[in-house]
């Protein structure tokens, strides 16, 4: 390449070990070596971290330089001549290793890191078994002060990777070096146990530690896995890695790559399996949305797979009790009852609840079952309770209801408005990207949340609007942007319509008016608007705080307005980004598990589309009248219009609002069949319970929040007689006289893709080859679409839709003076079905806690740890109080994960008129003290202000 061409392309050339190479400018020598396949040993290096230069193993010879240079921190320069392995270099490396080993217990055969230890590998490579440097060795106690991380600092080589990853990647900073010289060692503040630090138990520290200093607890403690220990011992003996050993021994299915079953981030997991048990969970570095990072649920929350509570046999209620029956009987009975109800009362007397947790293939088959076999469009799922407004609102404004940008490009934003999303708790991996944007290039974050959530520590501006006043806040910001001429004229002119109407509508929504409604200072609204509008690239990130309102659709529309106003659509680091909560809620929507659309959001009411699907499915015709939503189904059940329900992988008895009402509705059904992996609160009411396979026990795909279709792979066999949802649905269909021959996930996927334009180009071959594909992907050669609306919106031009502010349906009054808002916390997941069966998580977060401000607590005579009752017009629960200054006066927060004190006994069930989503986020409540805590520490929480992992 010519010099000029190289300069333009930012390529430099250098010589390494006698050969010339071209590498990108800005690479370090280490990166250059790695890029061209030259192995330079390191110990303190991790791709996720800034180079440290601590271990001195990567020293290389650079011609003309004075002394050896560390490759990881030295920039590669044009014309450099590097030698990575001279006598001097190897001698220096050897000395460094011997110094490290001189204070390291070389007991590899007993160490749980054997086979994965970077120090072991290097010691074997250099043939060092014992150090020639004799001297004092440390004798630290092994620290096991929490259920997840074991710290054995005797094995620590002081590479600082744990310190750096906790600080640079996680943004928490639980560790640092304490003491100096020989006594230097990583530690926590004041040597407190991990549970008394802000540690989130993400385990990133474990994932980066090169030795056995930091290891994960869960798998070996409850049940020793001797085969793995023996294999590790063999690794020490033979000097190979654990993966190499397993391969050499021909072990099949040792490491299975799949997608995390928890939230919508869609992190990639490598499940290590021995004897049909998951024994370890790691995440491949620099792969997928997580890039090798996980949260406590993904990394440590997989115990539920082998929980003894798993459903292992079909159950039928006989004489009031659920008894075990054969699959044959269960399927036959279910088919008979469903057919009977359909015959006597018509197809629309049946309803199906699909699942945001099961695979795309299974959801596709379920909506096919509802429509082609039952003959009804009464199919919906819990997206109704979370992002239905996103689908409805963005479909109106943009033409497409999904996250517009990808998790990867969020990092590139110059400003981010985080509104109604406690991102570090609900989407920790996405929060990492946002924190990275702040730490790396000073991205300006605007947090709009009434509580002081963790993202506030990274924020440039914090708007504390009262829950339910988001339209007022956004309209106020829009007013400022228009008023001060900060809007993107070109974008508005060429890409949108309806600007004039919007301008008129917000003309009198001044910051002062917004301040009155929201409680946020008018000048602060101005500043936030300016920061957002002035940024080159500004993104909006939102979640339930925006959607779970009776004005949810309006809230979303106003965000879309804001984004279009400032031209922040269709480029990197911008967009309107609804963070979908569940591992496959996006997929469930995409697959048409919705009452008004088939897969790919193709309308059931459209005659041509209906004909296409009827043809594809081999039936004469399909119902064209849109069906009932989840919230409507419950009402219809109470009225006697819906008589039978088939619920798969959903737990409305915990997740729907006003669960007393839900219980009445479900009990009033003639027939209820529930298909799940555990006997949930909903399953307990069922007439038939069908045991399903968990995510680790089947093949398929999930679609995460940024429209990425990712593979789910089978790692273990399901317990007992549990079966994949795919085969259960197909069996019931066949028993009802409808042939469903496609039983393999890839067959079903192919059928679905042939009928779904946005998925048409995606195949298992492409996914299995490691390709990252965001839909829409209309044909096989298409690379997928990470960013939507680049050239034009899905509907052509973006539509500004003015929205009026409407207050929440139930506001505090004299009888119920506090505002109750509900939500989630990091260690638990949704209705707790999975996470409350993980012993470690129960240890750090044993029970529900009501968050209350110090001023309100004082007035009620409440202190942290006291038992309090929270009551609303719908019901009451009792839980421990958590008095915290994170809460503003007048607001209380209750997470909804706990079956013994379910927050949804309290919530209102009025819904948004368009999206039909309930107002989970606002209700009027009263709090009373039930019993003072004995003064002791019975809950296991630390005293003082530092709170353990459960929710910040």
């Amino acid at each position: 390449m010519s010099k000029e061409a190289k300069e333009v392309a930012n390529i430099i050339s250098l010589t390494i070990d006698g050969d010339e190479y071209q590498v990108p400018q800005g690479s370090t020598i280490l990166e250059a070596c790695r890029a061209v396949g030259i192995d330079v040993p390191t110990l303190c290096y991790d791709e996720r971290l800034a180079p440290y230069g601590g271990c001195r193993l990567c020293l290389v010879e650079v011609e003309g330089a004075r002394g050896l240079l560390p490759a990881c921190t030295t920039a590669a320069e044009e014309g450099m001549v590097v030698r990575t392995s001279t006598e001097q270099v190897e001698s220096a490396r050897r000395t460094s290793l011997e110094l490290l080993i001189s204070d390291h217990p070389m007991a590899c055969t007993g160490c749980s890191k054997s086979g994965n230890c970077e120090l072991q590998r290097l010691a074997k490579r250099y043939g060092i078994e014992e150090s020639q440097y004799q001297g004092e060795k440390h004798e630290y106690p092994v620290l096991r002060d929490n259920p997840f991380i074991v710290r054995d600092y005797n094995k620590c080589i002081l590479c600082a990777r744990c310190i750096r990853i906790c600080r640079e990647v996680q943004g928490v900073g639980v560790y640092d070096f304490v003491n100096r010289g020989f006594a230097a060692v990583p530690g926590t503040p004041y040597d407190r146990p991990m549970t008394e630090t802000p540690c989130e138990f993400c385990g990133q520290c474990i994932s980066t530690c090169p030795t056995g200093a930091l290891t994960a607890r869960p798998f070996e403690e409850r049940e020793r896995v001797w085969k793995r220990e023996m294999a590790r011992s063999a690794c020490a003996h033979f000097g190979v890695s654990l993966d190499e050993m397993m391969e050499a021994l021909g072990v099949k299915g040792w490491k299975v790559r799949t997608t995390c079953p928890y939230c919508g981030c869609g992190c990639q997991l490598d499940l290590q399996v021995l004897d049909n048990r998951v024994v370890e969970v790691t995440s491949p570095i620099m792969v997928g949305p997580g890039q090798g990072n996980l949260c406590v649920k993904g990394r440590f929350g997989q115990d539920f797979i082998s929980s003894p509570d798993r459903l292992t046999a079909p159950l039928i209620r006989k004489d009031g009790e659920l008894v075990e029956v054969s699959w044959e009987e269960a399927i036959r009975f279910t088919a008979e009852r469903l057919s009977k109800i359909r015959e006597s009362n018509g197809p629309d007397s049946l309803a199906v609840l699909a699942s945001a947790r099961i695979t795309n293939e299974e959801n596709y088959l379920l909506q096919k079952f509802a429509r082609a076999v039952l003959g009804t469009n009464n199919i919906d799922h819990c997206a109704r309770l979370c992002h239905a407004p996103s689908v409805a609102g963005l479909a109106q404004t943009f033409g497409s209801g999904a996250m517009t940008n990808s998790i990867d490009d969020l990092e590139k934003a110059d400003a981010v408005l985080i509104i109604g999303s406690n991102t570090t708790e609900t989407h920790p991996i996405i929060a990492l990207r946002l924190k990275k944007a702040v730490m790396e290039h000073d991205c300006k974050i605007i947090v709009a949340d009434a509580r002081r959530i963790r993202m506030c520590y990274f924020a440039d501006k914090w708007l504390r609007q009262r829950p339910g006043t988001d339209v007022a806040l956004i309209n106020g910001m829009i007013n400022v942007i228009i008023e001060e001429g900060l809007y993107d004229r070109d974008f508005i002119e060429s890409r949108t319509e309806g600007f004039e109407e919007l301008k008129k509508a917000v003309a009198d929504f001044t910051p002062e008016r917004a301040a009155e409604i929201t409680g946020v200072d008018a000048d602060l609204i101005r500043e936030a608007a300016r920061v957002f509008a002035r940024a080159e690239r500004a993104a909006i990130v939102y979640a339930m705080g925006i959607t779970q309102h009776t004005t949810g659709t309006d809230n979303v529309i106003s965000l879309a307005n804001l984004a279009m106003l400032t031209g922040n659509i269709g480029k990197e680091g911008t967009g309107v980004n609804p963070l979908r909560g569940q591992n496959n809620v996006q997929g469930a929507c995409d697959m048409g598990a919705l009452p008004n659309v088939f897969s790919g959001y193709q309308s059931v009411a459209d005659a041509e589309i209906s004909r296409k699907f009827a043809g594809g499915w081999g039936v004469k015709e399909l119902p064209q009248k849109p069906g009932l939503t989840v919230t409507e189904m419950m009402e219809a059940a109470l009225r006697g219009e819906v008589k039978g329900m088939y619920i798969v992988g959903e737990n409305p008895m915990m997740s729907d609002p006003n669960i007393r009402h839900v219980e009445e509705a479900l009990r009033s059904l003639d027939f209820l069949v529930v298909q799940d992996i555990f006997l949930t609160e909903t399953a307990r009411l069922a007439d038939v319970v069908l045991p399903a396979a968990a995510y680790a026990e089947k093949e398929g795909t999930f679609t995460n929040t940024d429209r990425r279709v990712q593979r789910v792979r089978k790692a273990v066999e399901p317990p007992g007689q549990a079966c994949s949802d795919l085969s259960i649905i197909a069996d019931i269909a066949e028993a009802m006289g409808f042939s469903m021959p496609a039983r393999e996930a890839d067959e079903v996927f192919r059928e679905m893709a042939s009928l779904t334009p946005s998925y048409a180009g995606i195949t298992y071959e492409r996914l299995d080859s490691g390709e990252t594909i965001h839909w829409p992907c209309p044909e096989e050669g298409h690379p997928g679409t990470p960013i939507l609306h680049v050239e034009k919106f899905t509907r052509g031009k973006g539509a500004f839709i003015p929205v009026e502010y409407r207050p929440p349906v139930e506001e505090p009054d004299e009888q119920y003076p506090l505002l109750l808002t509900t939500g989630r916390i990091l260690p638990q997941y949704h209705t707790g079905t999975m996470t409350r069966r993980v012993p470690g998580i129960n240890e750090i977060d044993p029970a529900n806690r009501v968050w209350i401000s110090p001023e309100d607590a004082e007035g009620l005579g409440i202190a942290s740890g006291d038992l309090v009752r929270v009551s609303t017009r719908r019901g009451q629960i009792e839980a421990e109080a958590k008095v915290t200054s994170k809460m503003p006066g007048g607001l209380i927060f209750v997470p909804f994960h706990y079956s013994e004190s379910p927050a949804n006994l309290l919530t209102v069930d009025q819904v948004d008129p368009v999206a039909k989503i309930p107002e989970f986020k606002v209700a009027a409540a009263a709090v009373t003290l039930m019993r003072k805590n004995g003064g002791g520490d019975g809950s296991g929480n630390g005293q003082g202000t530092a709170s353990p992992g459960g929710g910040e």
Binding site: P105, M106, A107, C108, T109, G110, C111, E139, P141, V142, R144, E221, E223, R224, W226, K227, E229, M230, A231, R232, S233, A234, H237, F238, G239, V240, E244, M245, M246, A248, L249, G250, V251, K252, G253, L274, D275
Partner: protein, 265 residues
């Protein structure tokens, strides 16, 4: 010897007696275990015939679930005994394991002090003779002296679990050594002599004297000597030697039945 072993492996696969074979291979001076499923797999040419060893039973137990049918395993007499014991503990299905027995060299037998260096039906002819037992100094000591001798050795223990992790018969799901009430699970150095007594008693009816424990111990504790002595006492009273028979169960494994406590001739 290498040719004979390779030949036996090929023969087992070709004849259909086994569907896979497991052996140590010498790949350019580096030793690794290898599982092959084809008689003409080139790895068989590199089968290792030297003195280095590692419990073949452990490899067999790890590989077996991924094999359909019978797994042929190249192993020594101690490997044969390990396999018998693992089978009795229900960790291996003996019907699915075919041992291709190989003898130990005289040097190895002598250094191990082993009286059974050649397995029955070995696939290789050998001249190796049983070696002199290496009793160790503790056998001649009186009780107080013996206690002092062992306590001195145990004092160097760093609780690395190397002995347990490399023992082919340490397969318990719940390990007594990790129980707070038994061996004090968190303390370092370990509570002695209880830590080693627990192991020694467990070894009474299981240890087949492969010596991996002593090989692994970074503190050079003469574990083999300890377990030998315990086994000697045990076998004097019950006449039971671990691993020799595939059918005879350990007297300690009879639950609810009576076992005779007496001296056997």
């Amino acid at each position: 010897m290498k040719e004979e072993i390779a030949g036996a492996v090929r023969q087992a696969l070709q004849s259909g007696r086994a569907q896979a074979a497991l052996f140590l291979a010498d790949e350019d001076g580096k030793l690794v275990p290898r599982l092959v499923r084809d008689a003409d797999d080139p790895a068989i040419d590199r089968v290792y015939a030297g003195d280095q060893r590692f419990p073949a039973s452990a490899f067999a137990a790890i590989s077996l679930p991924s094999v359909e049918g019978v797994l042929a395993v190249v192993g020594r007499e101690c490997d044969r005994r390990m396999i018998n014991e693992l089978a009795k503990l229900n960790h291996l299905d003996l019907e699915r394991v075919l041992l291709l027995g190989i003898p130990c060299s005289q040097e190895l037998a002598d250094s191990c002090g082993c009286d059974h260096p050649v397995p029955p039906d070995a696939v290789v002819r050998s001249e190796t003779k049983p070696a002199e037992e290496k009793a160790g100094p503790s056998r001649e000591m009186g009780v107080p002296e013996r206690l002092a001798y062992w306590m001195e050795h145990f004092s160097r223990c760093i609780r690395c679990y190397g002995c347990r992790n490399s023992c082919p018969l340490c397969v318990c799901k719940e390990c007594a050594l990790e129980r707070e009430e038994l061996a004090g699970s968190d303390c370092f150095p370990p509570d002695i002599p209880i830590f080693h007594i627990i192991r020694a008693l467990d070894m009474a009816d299981r240890c087949i004297d492969c010596g991996m424990c002593e090989l692994s111990c970074p503190a050079d504790i003469p574990l083999r000597e300890l377990y030998r002595e315990v086994r000697r006492v045990f076998s004097e009273h019950f006449g039971y030697q671990p691993g020799v028979s595939a059918e005879e169960r350990s007297p300690l494994s009879f639950l609810g039945e009576e076992a005779e406590l007496g001296v056997h001739e």
